[in-house]
Symmetry: C2
Subunit: 149 residues, 2 copies
């Protein structure tokens, strides 16, 4: 389901050097490591909490480079912090459960068949509107199990 950690770092390093001769430093590796070990997107404060040696501004800068290299993806849930996760081609296509109450974001996968239906519908819309699709975004917004109890 998910590539081995080594593969992820190898791929990340490769993409970084391809995308403008960026080095895959230990800070960057650490960020990728933290993201790879989480089963849901993380905010910057969460990343820093998981690796307190990281400096905030450098983390933001490194995330920007990782995003530019296609290693990391940033999602915007509401207006608080952005959430960062590894690019989908490293982790697989998935969607998000977004809790309105605690702001948590969790991953989920929809059955291939439903995903295919969605893709078909979206592609025909895109074609008729002359819109070039980069990706789609399907999220459930509501209240998570923890917040319901």
């Amino acid at each position: 389901m998910r590539a081995l950690d080594d593969d992820i770092h190898t791929t990340a390093a490769l993409r970084m050097s391809s995308a403008g001769g960026q080095r895959y430093t230990s800070s960057r590796r650490s960020i990728v490591e933290v993201l790879a070990h989480s089963d849901h997107p993380l905010t910057l404060p969460q990343i820093l909490a998981l690796d307190p040696t990281l400096a905030q501004s450098s983390a933001y800068r490194n995330l920007a480079e990782l995003i530019a290299a296609g290693v990391v993806h940033r999602i915007v849930v509401a207006d608080e912090h952005g959430h960062f996760e590894l690019a989908e081609d490293l982790t697989g296509h998935h969607h998000h459960l977004i809790c309105l109450s605690c702001g948590s974001v969790t991953d989920f996968v929809v059955p291939a068949k439903a995903e295919a239906t969605i893709d078909r519908a979206l592609n025909s819309i895109a074609e008729e509107r002359h819109f070039e699709v980069e990706h789609h975004r399907l999220d459930l917004v509501g209240r998570c199990q923890t917040c319901l109890t």
Copy 2:
């Protein structure tokens, strides 16, 4: 497809007074009017441009009240301005084409049949994850016709 303008204002006024005795002032009416006449979500600067008599801070405050009353919905596309639109029960369920290049947001509707498939898939996920769904969010992210040429 969309309720008559008068109905929208009547509904809006009603929801405002129900939601904590808020008055439906001319500024608020004007915001709703502007949103009702747009076929896509608007940012605050866009709203102000369409009605220059509105003051920024009051507009934000009024939008917050309108959102609390369930008249307006705010969507977050990226990290620039938020986008405001009338609540879906006033305009009908729809989705968004989000252009990465110019940041524009356009509405689209997916065929009822596909929408039903999506709902079914999402509901079963929600049930199995004990997640209480408030709404779902399905957007296409890419490049719009204008930006492609």
